[in-house]
């Protein structure tokens, strides 16, 4: 029998990486928040790789942290090894990546939710959501409990209509053997939402003691440890090593010989898999000229012997898996504890949403994470945070948070999703941002913490520390612009050592730093007035100085683009009726319903000619409304 079990401001369906950030943000902003999960032991689970961060994903974690989210802090609490990827490739692409203890991470997140004021964590499967007459949403659980909420955030991950595939075998399931959310998809379709099937996959976990580590390349963490969170002051140490091995001709042959037994290739799976995170069989088929592929062997935690085989996800039958894993150096006798599997699930087409992640057609309904077509924990958390913040802001009758592409990778991610949509699980990459040199992981706080503060997710302590840091950066920039280095043998010998031309008149310190050959560190002996401050301040100052020209260039572009973003398109335009638009453009515009001209211009299939039609249309709208006022 149905019964009313509770009322919330914000209800979050799912307690994965998106659901956690959504729930915490809404609760922290003062909304009464309920977070529902199918299984309380799966809160903040990492059903795929035991790591947080990576290229561009590390940027996302820093940005989440800068806005007041939880992921970075939890990763700092639970990491086993941390590395800055891409050192030497330039500051724009430096990315933090941490191996984490996945059990510990899950517990840490669950506990955080449990302790959070205004937040109730419940184990319940939501089977339907419906709009009540008063505009609020009614959620029904499998046990017929009804919850009423002003806003609902769907963050169902791979649970939504989940189906696992291993070779010929398939069964309805969520990740890691959890049961799936079987009934909710019907309810969503009934309300008129467009959903479709995506798939993803994960590699096997193998027993550590069965691996022969002799001759495998070792990979250690960075010293000193650089943490994700701007709050973490004394991070712990690296605790584990990872290992690198390679597939070979034999692996390739085994896979190719058995490719017909893959559900992807036999056509059993209809869902679209991630292009940017392919299974080993995909890699071998698509890059057939490549002799070998790299894989990483990573511990899943401190208190477990399970090792994760990054780069080796598969949906081939278990017997084939055993055969090809055993063909790999170091894994010849490995015991597979959990086989690799593919999982297919329902997700929404994100072009149905606007930049707040609210569905355009369903007021008060938001989506985040894999449900929105993305892939990855960090992508999920980023959206969860934005959806949670916006649901709360709406309930509190405050201005929404819209992050534009120039502000952050989070903004870029959301803009890509709601503007271009996605045809396969969307993974963040540095190449997705046209403003890479500005959206760096080292300055995420400068870019976003003032926004987090304004929203109300940055406490006084953090805010104070932020301002102190900004002052230090400013002061240091000023100092190096004023400081003059006089020519002397000491100075010139250092310049010589670093392969740059000597000076014979005084030169500003800033001009020396601009030379590509010279670093902050190289100049330390001749920089007598250098203050004793945190190295990350020098790092940021150095980047700002060395890349000044490139940064300025990007800022100019940003300024121009923002002008187009200021030209707002009303949501109720029927593009079918606008003379002069090409058919394809009308169709696409009606689907995406862009918020402004800038966004409209990024829709594929909308040409600059169409944009000029829109600009003119807008100006006639304005003239009309001006006339009406007269």
């Amino acid at each position: 029998m149905k019964f009313l079990a509770g009322e919330f401001d914000v209800a979050v369906i799912g307690a994965g990486h998106a659901g956690i950030e959504a729930g915490l943000a809404a609760a922290r902003l003062g909304c009464k928040t309920g977070v529902f999960t199918i299984n309380l032991d799966a809160v903040g689970n990492c059903p795929c790789n035991p790591s947080i961060g990576g290229t561009a994903k590390g940027h996302l974690v820093r940005e989440i942290d800068a806005l007041g989210g939880e992921m970075g802090k939890a990763a700092d609490d639970c990491f086993l090894q941390i590395r800055m990827l891409n050192r030497g490739k330039g500051p724009a692409v430096h990315s933090l990546r941490a191996q984490i203890d996945r059990r510990k991470y899950s517990e840490r997140m669950k506990h955080t939710l449990e302790l959070q004021e205004n937040l109730e964590l419940r184990q319940a499967e939501i089977v339907s959501i419906e709009k009540a007459d008063d505009g609020r949403w009614v959620l029904l659980t499998r046990l017929e409990a009804q919850y009423i909420a002003k806003a609902v955030i769907i963050a169902t991950g791979t649970y939504l209509g989940g189906k696992v595939y291993i070779g010929d075998v398939s069964y309805e399931s969520g990740p890691d053997g959890m049961f799936p959310s079987k009934f909710l998809p019907d309810s969503l379709e009934k309300m008129g939402m467009k959903i479709r099937r995506f798939k993803t996959g994960t590699p096997a976990r193998v027993l550590k003691s069965s691996i022969d580590f002799d001759g495998l390349e070792e990979q250690e963490g960075d010293e000193p440890v650089v943490p994700f969170s701007y709050d973490t002051e004394n991070p712990s140490e690296n605790k584990i090593k990872c290992y690198i091995s390679w597939t070979n001709e034999k692996t390739k042959k085994i896979i190719l010989d058995n490719i017909s037994r893959s559900p992807m290739y036999s056509g059993k799976i209809e869902g679209v898999g991630p292009r940017y995170c392919p299974s080993i069989e995909d890699k071998i088929v698509r890059f057939s000229d490549k002799q070998r592929h790299q894989l990483f062997i990573e511990p899943c935690g401190i208190d477990t012997e399970e090792m994760y085989l990054q780069g080796m996800s598969s949906s081939l039958p278990e017997d084939v898996q055993l055969e090809f894993y055993h063909s790999i150096k170091g894994l010849e006798h490995c015991v597979v504890m959990r086989p690799a599997y593919a999982i297919e699930y329902f997700c929404a087409d994100p072009i149905q949403m606007n930049s707040t992640l609210e569905f355009i057609d369903f007021e008060g309904l938001y989506g985040a994470g894999q449900f929105n077509g993305s892939s990855g924990y960090e992508e999920a958390a980023a959206q969860g945070l934005v959806a949670g913040i916006n649901a709360a802001l709406k309930i509190l009758d405050r201005e929404p948070l819209i992050l534009d592409r120039a502000s952050s990778y989070i903004g870029t991610l959301i803009d890509d999703l709601v503007t271009k949509g996605c045809n396969d699980p969307y993974r963040m990459m540095t190449s997705r941002s046209e403003y890479r040199l500005i959206l760096r992981q080292d300055n995420a706080d400068t870019r976003l913490t003032p926004i987090g503060r304004k929203i109300g997710l940055i406490g006084d302590d953090r805010w104070h520390r932020f301002n102190v840091k900004q002052e230090l950066i400013k002061a240091e920039l000023e100092r190096i612009r004023k400081t003059v280095i006089s020519p002397s043998e000491a100075v010139n010998s250092i310049l010589r050592e670093n392969g740059t031309s000597e000076i014979n008149t005084g030169i500003k310190l800033v001009d020396l730093l601009k030379r590509p050959e010279l670093s902050y560190d190289a100049l330390k002996d001749i920089d007598e007035t250098r203050p004793d401050i945190n190295a990350n301040i020098f790092e940021q100052v150095e980047i700002e100085i060395k890349y000044e020209g490139y940064i300025k260039r990007q800022l100019t572009v940003i300024e121009q683009v923002r002008k187009l973003e200021k030209k707002i398109l009303p949501l109720n335009i029927n593009y079918e009726n606008i003379e002069g638009l090409r058919l394809e453009a009308r169709e696409k515009l009606n689907k995406v319903r862009p918020e402004n001209i800038g966004q409209a211009g990024r829709i594929s299939g909308v040409s600059p000619a169409d944009i000029s039609v829109l600009v003119i249309y807008l100006s006639t709208l304005k003239n009309k409304s001006a006339e009406e006022k007269e």
Binding site: K89, S431, E434, Y550, L564, G580, V615
Partner: protein, 454 residues
């Protein structure tokens, strides 16, 4: 209600007829203020799609004889009431008529305004609007050919060749940065610099061709210089292909030929200030030469006319000195008469020389060929795809600038993420060029590319 606007709706200077279009609620009233038909019928009383012959007045003074054509809203080009006054072609007269119209109640139409109004009133789709533009601005055959091959065919191919190079550079750089854990090949900076250099060369040649292409599209500013009575007017008439009514024997009238465009083969010559023509009554002949001096300095082409039946005077010699480093052609006229002139002297000073008889029309082919040589169009193959507009040129130029900067960034040893963003800037400029990417520049300029009037 939109204000009534007017502009010259024929391309500057070309054609025997110039049309001044007036569009808007008061178009007919404005036209009645300046135009008096021979039948004395008011334009206001005329039916749509009828024409009447009459005279255009400015402050009571006759400017020209003209035909007025009336269109009623909404069945006009712009969808508004429209009156078109067709007068004698040539910029000077049409401008005078326009000035009269503007004095009598119309505002000047902004660039592309008629087309914009047509578009807003649902009379024209945007693609049509753009096509209108192309037809208007294409003057000669080669120019039309270039316009046709412009975006669809060869130019796009040419640009895409560069773009594909740049995209593959950017793709490699991105994969290398985004997949540090896959074994993506390392970036070899020497190869990278070579690939970028290759792009630089292609873009430079694209820009070089634009200058030659521009001559074909927009014409070359041409000065006809020479002493009085060497045949400058006759040469002009020869170039125009007919004796223009405006060139009369009445002293002073020739003075009015300030600007005129004539086609020499494929090349439009914008004849500006036919210095010397009006100085016949001038006591000091050198004034003509002195004016020529200033003009010659700025001209894109100088046609220096000499009378071969007379010996070289000091003035001739002074002119010849001026021609030495100028884009000049010595036109030796009156070859039908006995030669008295020291031809060798001219040949020793001026690189390009041609012999004509303006009176008999002999030598025009050679003239054409020499001019093409001088302005650099003789080696231009328009079907190869050349940049057509200033917007395209500036997009190509900013792509080149970015490529240069990328080369410099590699050379300085700055990290490759900086190279990547600059390469992407170059790609974006090219996408803007081919109309595949929306930028503020595109949105802003879309109507400013439209020729005033149409």
């Amino acid at each position: 209600m939109e204000k009534t606007v007017a502009a010259i709706s024929t391309a500057n200077g070309t054609g025997g007829v110039g049309i001044i279009r007036i569009s808007g609620e008061n178009a007919k009233e404005v036209a009645d203020n300046v135009f008096v038909s021979v039948s004395n019928k008011k334009i206001k009383e005329m039916n749509g799609y009828t024409a009447t012959f009459g005279k255009v007045y400015d402050d009571g003074e006759i400017i020209d004889e003209a035909i007025a054509l009336v269109f009623n809203a909404p069945h006009s080009y712009t969808g508004e009431d429209v009156v078109e006054i067709s007068c004698h072609g040539g910029l000077y007269v049409t401008k005078k008529v326009l000035r009269a119209v503007l004095k009598n109640g119309a505002s000047p139409a902004e660039a592309g305004e008629f087309t914009k109004r047509a578009f807003l009133n649902g009379r024209l789709g945007l693609t049509e609007a753009e096509a209108v533009m192309d037809i208007i601005s294409a003057r000669g055959e080669q120019s039309a050919k270039a316009a046709l091959s412009c975006m669809e065919g060869n130019l796009r191919k040419r640009i895409n060749a560069v773009r594909d190079n740049l995209v593959s550079i950017a793709a490699h750089l991105s994969a290398w940065a985004d997949y540090p854990e896959e074994d993506i090949p390392e970036i070899d900076t020497d190869n990278l610099a070579d690939s970028l250099e290759n792009c630089r060369l292609k873009l430079s040649s694209l820009l070089k061709d634009y200058d030659a292409g521009k001559v074909i599209r927009e014409g070359v500013d041409t000065v006809i210089a020479g002493k009085p009575n060497v045949g400058k007017s006759t040469l002009m008439n020869l170039l125009s292909g007919c004796e223009r009514s405006i060139v009369t024997n009445v002293p002073g009238t020739t003075r009015d030929i300030i600007e005129e465009t004539v086609m020499l083969g494929e090349i439009p010559l914008n004849l500006s200030d036919t210095a010397g023509i009006h100085s016949t009554d001038d006591p000091v002949e050198t004034i003509g030469v002195k004016r020529a001096k200033d003009r010659v300095k700025n001209a894109g082409l100088v046609l220096a006319v000499f009378d071969s039946s007379k010996a070289l005077s000091d003035d001739d010699k002074e002119l010849i000195e001026l021609l030495e480093n100028a884009p000049a052609l010595a036109v030796i006229n009156k070859t039908d008469l006995k030669t008295e002139m020291d031809i060798e002297y001219i040949k020793s000073k001026v690189k390009h020389i041609v012999f004509i008889s303006a009176k008999n029309g002999q030598g025009t082919e050679e003239l054409e060929k020499e001019v093409a040589d001088i302005v650099g169009t003789s080696n231009l193959d328009a079907s190869q795809g050349i940049l057509a507009t200033e917007r395209q040129r500036s997009a190509a130029e900013s792509a080149l600038k970015s490529v240069n900067e990328a080369i410099e960034t590699v050379r300085l040893g700055i990290t490759l993420d900086a190279v990547t963003v600059v390469v992407e800037d170059a790609i974006n400029s090219l996408l803007e060029l081919t109309g595949e990417r929306t930028t503020e520049a595109v949105v802003d300029k879309v109507f400013h590319q439209f020729c005033v009037g149409k």
